[in-house]
Subunit: 384 residues, 4 copies
């Protein structure tokens, strides 16, 4: 299996959530092999985690800097590193690995602030790195289809976009209940020193924003935001209402919340143009609802009648056999695999892939910072 | 059938939509009898319409002023008049009838501006009139239940409200296509001289706002709005995005649109509190979704297990036998019937009824005017 | 209002369910006026009910035979009588009124057995009576559309039909719990002397069968049935599984149950042909799902794009404004009104109306009896 | 990664569907490593497929018998073989590998007839083989939950089960259209010499039957069936209607069809007991609807509130992040992995695993054969 891509990982040790997701995603299409890692900031836990994952002893590192250095000098060095730590570590780890020429797959958000992001963007260019940010929801087949339909003009000019990403798991102040189950996740995600200046807007709002941009390919020029912390004592926002004025005249709103009981992972986007409307909901991702003005609503299904090549290319099984979150995530990994192989063969062409880039990451942080800035000036419209 | 309430009607002649709805609503529970009317501003059409409706010749009037006068001097005069004309006539007609002591059932919006509304409020008080505004969506049983559940604390303090009312019938500029079917409705509803200063915000946004206030009993203190006319040449807004800061700290948003393909009459409200969430959608009105934080989502059905007296009192048939828009509308008429009979018996008590009042109408116009004011000042927050 | 149709009613007194439904249905389109009645087999209750309904004293009868006789000799006699008693009285009351030349609207099932039905069919012909049986579900607009689509060949030859009508209210033995709320309904509906030989198959299964025949216009030639009484002590079936072999080669199954927790009034029909499939569910009656083989599923909505004249003619309000059970029921009454007026004008033509006839009633009883016969011979196929 | 289970595969070469599914399923939880295979009955295609899959040359076999023999003598021989060929090869391949002591994962149906099955059952016992049949739908977390809820008595005694598995892809006679896309699948699945005596009843009906047995743990004692071939020229049934009388008195029906336009992979099961009802649909597998008689319907979600350990143990990601078909399939593989490891450690206990066994496979073939027998005797009830 010599042709598999050699993957390293930083973060994602025992008890972590997103690291395990990355690993499954990397395996689904059998194009990656996890061969090295520094799985925790706690060296002991790091090594135990690596052992559990079957990493060979000499590539099971106790910290990421050691890993970057030692991998660098190996003949069979990793082709890419996946960074799945809490947010505040994304920048230093990315920098370490990029400086050694390693390609990067980084969980979102890209970094803690614009300055860090700009450095990453610059470094990615200088070092000619493949840098993929796992805004994974763009990997869903029906999202690929939605983008293609917008691009080919099925909706006409887009007028209105309603995006929302609502959860309920932070309805209570879990971060202050040391014994509760959701605790570890709640602690770092509501802590500015680990999460950055955005709470729910950074954790999930950026996903909605990225999805909006990905599908419509529209860019905002102004933003107005109202961020709120409803839970007493919470340091970051847990509810955000954002309005965007987009180039070309479209208007968008994004509602993001982590305190809305009855919403598990409700990411939804609805797009309305001069000629038609599209509706998609992450919890039922195999369905895309399309209504041409004056015609009945159509339920387009992954793999089914009405599904086009943009969707079918990233679909594995027949219609009615639901693919889910992990398969969507795997599609990002597949895109990266394509890019890595093309690069090796000197056939790299950024326009061929769909993975979110370091620039998308910068854009996401800009979204968070501009939201906070607007919210701090009483939701006034500010330039994006 | 001597005990039926004698109803008159102004507007609602041949080809009208909402007049026919009022008539059906008034018949469903058999408490009203339509005995008089001036059904059109066109005298000929008015008389023809009345004849078709079986109105006796002496009470089939060619204009509303004649009607007010002649009914006033009859021994068997009408108990109430239903006003179902285009918006700009609501005020003068209401004034004429109130001045003669007639009770009024008026379609929304109440009037063209705050000044008109205030005069109506004042007159209603002076003349001790029963004045019901048909924000009909408050008549749905599951809306009554939602209000009761909020009131009895099932949600805890309310934090976030997401209301939306989207349609698609004005996606094209129907008002400029003289031969198209939807034309007559499109013409007056997009014409400021007949509709007032609000377009979709007045036509449907006010319904969403009224519903929000009815269920939560929360009042806004500040508003920010972004109104847009997307269809070239349209004189009034066809898309509105509103944010509200409510007393007690809750935040609400209302999206209203008439250019969103795939939405027929999508009025939806979602309410999230400290303890639970509620979701309701007008197109499937017999279902109320309730999620207590930490428990599975429940589908509470009209008449079914989980339905409480507030809903059951305004429900006619068993669960699974869908009631719809007309039955909800009829519940407003039933409330008015109760009020009229109580008044005759000197048992009138405003707290016993659920029909929207003239004050609710004033509140609706304030919502429109404040939205426009905010939108005109670049969506800045202004006091409500 | 001289042109309204004068309606009498037998049954439907205080506490009854279906009588009130008939009255509302008769009022919705304002074509009937209830002027006479014998509302209960208990004379006292009968008179009290009539008084409450505003029936004038001289037409408020204490028993139906008196009513038939006295109405017969009036100049302003009723145009039709609605019979809404328990099943065992349908035959004698229908006979009494038909013999006097009165038109009949009778609740289903038509009678207690084939013999009674045949006498009714014969009498209807001899007396040239308009006889409508309220298999009300055929009144829904989207059912009208489904029938028209089948008729115009949108599905090609029909192959498979899956019909089901499931409820849960008889999960417990309510008929033996004298104090429980659902009691009165449960008592007579599970009592062979009042209900006939069919339990759930007669109460609701016949509706599914009628719907199947109405939409597809196919007739069975053989039937196999399995009837079960699951609740201990219950005298009639509470669950039925029926298979039909239809003329033309289609196969159908009907599942009917009143002991299926989670089903309120789940009447559903799915029809599959060589070219397309149709799906409809009574609890969400404004939607008809149509899938042309090889195309995405379409959601056709009452009044919306895709709705055809067969549906639009029996629709009152725009798409997205849900019509329900009562409006569907009212469509049967409207059909009857058309027939009655045509008859007066010598323009009666049975092909113009959609109301179920006395022959449909006979067909329904045949369905019950043949089901029981098959079930009693170990579900063997028997001729229909 | 020495501790991974070494997997071989027979079948599943280029262009095959289910082989790829097995491979993904085996990778998701990282417990298997595909190291050997004979991927096609065509030796050339077999080798090409293996090469593409990265199988090392010495374990890339051109036929399965060679594979069984050569693997048998290796020190690092495979731990199990996955058999993913057309149905008629399941028996000979299973026999070959079992005779050499290899554990087997076999796609369903188990074999072509009862006789073959019985030999497999006997051999599995004699050779003490772990034999898993991939009735994969039992791997879904909410199915595990449904079984646990039945087992712990949440429904009381079960009365009625409605199972259905409908597709539409064989609506046309694809098997006779050599150039069409669905062709290869259609050809062998409608060919008795490759598929066996059951058409849709074997292909998908057995899944529904297995699911019913798995969840309720009830066994039928009598069966009545009506099989039909609707498509002209088709050699096997494409629509089946089955009734079952189950031990304990419950009644079940299974509808299976491959000619129902609008159904992609509609596998649904509804179970009704004395106390509650359960509903689950494969196309939306993360939701289980539970209605306790007298309470509102609950939507229990995978990973969410209300999910119990039986479901949570086979769930990878949080609620609202949909898992799908491949993850359900992977759960069967995980069960097998547990069993294989336990066997190595002498801790094997059949009661600990949920994978369907060779006996379940025999039961599935019995279901097919008894269905055909009943259908051939005019759907009469026959003993199971």
């Amino acid at each position: 299996m010599s042709q598999k891509i050699k993957l390293g990982m930083v973060g994602g040790g025992q008890g972590a959530f997103i690291g395990a997701v990355h690993r499954i995603a990397s395996r689904i299409d059998d194009r990656f092999e996890l061969v090295a890692g520094a799985f925790s900031s706690n060296p002991e836990k790091s090594l135990a985690s690596g052992k559990e994952l079957g990493i060979s002893e000499d590539r099971n590192y106790s910290d990421y800097e050691e890993m970057a250095e030692k991998e660098f000098i190996r003949g069979d060095k990793i082709d890419a590193v996946a960074i799945v730590t809490p947010n505040h570590m994304h920048h230093p780890i990315s920098m370490s690995f990029m400086k050694k020429g390693f390609n990067v797959i980084c969980d979102k958000p890209l970094a803690m602030n614009i300055k860090e992001c700009e450095e990453l963007v610059r470094t990615q260019k200088e070092e000619d790195i493949i840098f993929a940010l796992t805004h994974n929801y763009t990997g869903y087949p029906m999202i690929r289809q939605a983008r293609a339909m917008c691009q080919q003009g099925d909706l006409g000019n887009i007028r209105v976009i309603q995006a929302e990403y609502a959860q309920d798991w932070l309805t209570l102040d879990l971060e202050n209940q040391p014994d509760s189950g959701g605790n570890k996740q709640a602690s770092w995600r509501t802590d500015p020193s680990q999460s950055g200046s955005g709470g729910c807007i950074g954790d999930i709002g950026t996903h909605a924003y990225n999805l909006l941009r990905y599908i419509t390919q529209l860019q905002p020029h102004q933003i107005s935001a109202e961020l709120t912390s409803f839970v007493p004592g919470r340091k970051l926002d847990d509810n955000a209402q954002i309005s965007l004025r987009l180039n070309g005249g479209a208007k968008a709103t994004i509602w993001s919340s982590q305190i809305a009981p009855g919403n598990e992972n409700h990411l939804q986007i609805r797009i309305y143009g001069e000629k038609a409307g599209l509706e998609w909901c992450q919890e039922d991702p195999n369905y895309l609802y399309f209504t041409k003005y004056g015609s009945p609503k159509q339920k387009i299904t992954r793999g089914g009648a009405g599904a086009i090549s943009a969707a079918n290319e990233v679909s594995r099984i027949p219609p009615g056999h639901p693919e889910g979150y992990l398969e969507g995530f795997a599609n990002i990994y597949s895109d990266v695999a394509n890019a890595l192989i093309d690069k090796k063969n000197n056939e790299f062409d950024i326009n061929k892939y769909h993975y979110p880039t370091v620039e998308d990451g910068l854009e996401g942080i800009r979204f968070i910072e501009r939201s906070i800035a607007s919210s701090n000036s009483d939701s006034s419209w500010i330039n994006f």
